[in-house]
């Protein structure tokens, strides 16, 4: 087969499936007008024609799973909300996108905020909620502006407010800007933060579905999960199930970043591989090779070039020893020092540890001390086992998943790159030149040649 034919067969037209991103290239894509021109708020009409229970069953049958990392079935989360309990119910959208490498919800909200608003109205109708909150991380003011504007437009058009489209549903949406704390991406810490407290995780049970915001039944969903609901309603659950696999159906946003020729957002069916994504987008930057990558942010154990053919869905990635996470595919080439990368991530976890539990607060601190020493050539061989030990004392023994996330890069990098750690110790320093990893490294080389 010729190269051209091969590309056609496995070409981007076939492998990708833009749904949420389908019209981001249009002028003013974030406005209600443009959204409506692309069947916006049609899914809502279908949803409102169903009974709330049927709607929950429909979303459950579609197989939609959470896109924020854990992959819990969205319809099931909705179903857990007790009905007829006389308490207010709340929907809280987790838009606190802060997991290192993760960059899908922010462009989604910037270019297409109405998909989220429509999804919110549908979800609130299903769980019988009359007040929803969008908890957006504070550090993204351009996105905050678009959310303010989208909510305003939706109220003006009658998609929010009282008796929405004559359905009897009343719904208020509050856009809430956070103030800088990675831990608030953890759903119970997010709830504490939304209640005006320090963002620290809560003990579960009780789960948010029973006692969430203000101790009332609460659904916490990721932006992309909720934004995917309108298309499922509009085009049908069969259409949704025609993409991806039995257990991981549907489309999703993959975020390619790092030393690749074309970093960016790629929306396609679940189960695509990194090899396919790189093939269609021009591979790694010219003259370089993939060394290690994360399938779903820094908290998911890293992969190497042996894992290029792992299907990027929940089961596929788990079977290969990692997690699909947020589908943040951070790719690093052979110029990158893995010890430097892991040290920096670990510094991040130490900084962001909320301090509530000892294994995470103390463990991440000691990991940083050891890693800094190793990176600076001051480590000894026994430090490597010590790293493993400390990570083991954090993993599964911390109050929330932040600790597990901090242990992931340690375990996985020691598994695949132990020799590189050893080299830092025996060679009394880092063998890599950080200048070679920069985006401009090869451009400078060209310039010298041309001069």
């Amino acid at each position: 087969m010729t190269l051209a034919a091969e590309i056609k067969d496995t070409g981007p037209e076939k492998l990708l499936a833009p749904v949420l991103s389908a019209f981001w290239d249009e002028d003013k894509s974030w406005t209600l007008d443009v959204y409506r021109r692309h069947d916006g708020y049609e899914g809502l009409r279908k949803a409102l024609a169903m009974s709330p229970d049927d709607l929950i069953a429909y979303v459950k049958d579609s197989g939609l799973r959470g896109r924020g990392g854990a992959g819990f079935p969205t319809g099931m989360k909705w179903q857990f909300i007790p009905q007829g309990d006389g308490k207010p119910h709340y929907l809280v959208v987790n838009a606190d996108e802060s997991e290192p490498g993760t960059c899908k919800d922010i462009p989604l909200l910037f270019a297409n905020p109405h998909s989220l608003i429509e999804g919110i109205v549908i979800a609130c109708y299903a769980i019988r909620s009359s007040h929803a909150f969008i908890y957006l991380r504070g550090e993204v003011v351009p996105v905050l502006r678009r959310l303010h504007e989208a909510v305003r437009e939706a109220y003006a058009a009658g998609y929010l407010g009282e008796n929405i489209l004559g359905s009897g549903l009343d719904l208020q949406v509050t856009v809430h800007a956070g103030a800088g704390a990675y831990i608030c991406g953890e759903e119970t810490a997010l709830l504490d933060s939304l209640e005006g407290r320090r963002g620290q995780p809560r003990l579960r049970p009780p789960f948010p579905a029973v006692a969430g915001l203000y101790a009332c039944p609460t659904v916490v969903n990721n932006v992309e999960s909720i934004a995917s609901v309108p298309a499922i309603l509009h085009k049908g659950k069969e259409w949704f199930r025609s993409m991806g696999s039995e257990k991981s159906p549907g489309f999703t946003l993959y975020s390619l970043s790092g030393h690749v020729a074309r970093p960016g957002q790629y929306e396609g069916p679940l189960g695509i591989t990194l090899r396919q994504l790189l093939d269609m987008s021009g591979g790694m930057r010219p003259g370089h090779r993939l060394k290690f990558w994360t399938p779903g942010g820094s908290s998911t154990p890293m992969f190497t070039d042996e894992h290029l053919d792992v299907p990027l869905d929940y089961e596929g990635v788990a079977a290969a020893g990692s997690m699909l996470g947020t589908k943040a595919l951070q790719c690093f080439d052979e110029t990158t020092c893995v010890v430097r990368a892991v040290t920096r991530w670990t510094e991040f976890y130490a900084h962001e540890s909320c301090g509530k539990c000892t294994p995470c607060r103390e463990g991440t601190y000691w990991l940083v001390q050891l890693l800094r020493d190793i990176e600076a050539g001051k480590g000894v061989m026994s430090d490597l086992d010590k790293l493993n030990d400390i990570a083991d004392n954090i993993n599964g023994k911390s109050f929330c998943a932040l600790g597990d996330g901090a242990a992931s890069p340690i375990f996985s990098s020691l598994k695949y790159f132990r020799e590189e750690y050893e080299e830092h110790i025996t060679g009394r320093g880092c063998p890599f030149d950080p200048a070679k990893s920069t985006v401009w490294a090869d451009k400078d080389k060209h310039a010298e040649v041309n001069a």
Binding site: K28, P107, G258
Partner: protein, 288 residues
């Protein structure tokens, strides 16, 4: 949020040991009246008033540029909390500044991906160029420099944020030019986001008051170039597997037109055209 020793030092400066602090001075009457009206509007958005604490801290920051004891007292009064409760929250979150700072907060992302792609070099160069360290402000009071964590823009790495607007695909040179422009008072346009306003004005948007400037919502277009890559490929608007550096269309800030005319913009060699230098998995297969 574990507090670093230096942060504790900052906290301790205003505390005289052994003597309780005098109550914080109050806002002037007119300021307080204005802020109270705003605060009531914020509180009305929530079923429980305490939920308004984070936005109210943004609000007092929009008044003074940082969170003062006066501001915290104001929040406590409005929400019927103790100042200890408010302080506990204000010191937990990194976006609240606890000392006077510059009009423009320049944050260089130094989380792993941006750091490796050039963020570390940019942060170092800016410290040299401005003569300030992390969290410090230039003498003219214009720029506060800090390093920040991943800002959900990794496909635009290396990323610099100014007052929480995106400056994508930065280099050492563009970042230096950026801070020079800020200090000179030149109007600076982010790659994604609205024309810059001051830190105080930004804090007001964060408190939940929409940006009323004409064109502020539209600014920056529908989506950044990297956000559109997958869509363009799917629509057949780009040749697959042909490497053309995507950073050329990153906006006026990061790629001045002069650079476009250089030889760097010629299509670069791809795995297909340059088998001697395999660029990725494509050529791994073909090489057999």
């Amino acid at each position: 949020m574990t507090t670093t020793p230096s942060e504790q030092g900052v906290q301790a400066q205003g505390v005289s040991l052994g003597m309780p602090q005098l109550p914080a001075p109050d806002y002037p009457d007119d300021v307080r009246a204005r802020l109270e009206a705003d605060a009531r509007e914020v509180i009305a958005r929530y079923p429980d008033s305490r939920s308004a604490l984070l936005p109210l801290l943004h609000l007092v920051q929009s008044e003074e540029g940082h969170v003062t004891r006066t501001g915290m007292q104001f929040c406590a009064d409005m929400l019927d909390l103790t100042t200890a409760e408010v302080t506990a929250v204000a010191t937990f979150y990194t976006m609240y500044r606890r000392k006077p700072s510059g009009d423009y907060q320049v944050g260089v992302c130094t989380n792993t991906l941006c750091a490796v792609m050039g963020g570390d070099a940019i942060f170092e160069a800016l410290q040299d160029h401005l003569g300030v360290g992390n969290g410090e402000t230039t003498d003219d009071g214009k720029v506060t420099l800090e390093h920040i964590e991943c800002n959900a823009a990794c496909d635009f790495a290396p990323v610099v944020m100014v007052n929480w607007e995106f400056f994508d695909n930065q280099t050492v040179d563009t970042a230096k030019r950026l801070v020079d422009d800020l200090r000179a008072g030149a109007q600076v346009e982010p790659t994604r986001g609205a024309p810059l306003c001051t830190f105080k004005e930004t804090a007001r948007v964060l408190a939940g008051f929409p940006d009323e400037r004409p064109g502020a919502v539209e600014a920056g277009g529908s989506a950044g170039p990297a956000s559109l890559i997958g869509l363009r490929l799917a629509k057949g608007e780009m040749t697959p597997a042909r490497v053309v550096h995507p950073r050329g269309s990153g906006g006026p800030q990061d790629q001045p037109p002069a650079e476009h005319l250089s030889s760097h913009d010629a299509p670069q060699q791809t795995s297909a055209s340059d088998p001697a230098h395999p660029a990725g998995p494509v050529s791994e297969e073909e090489g057999e």
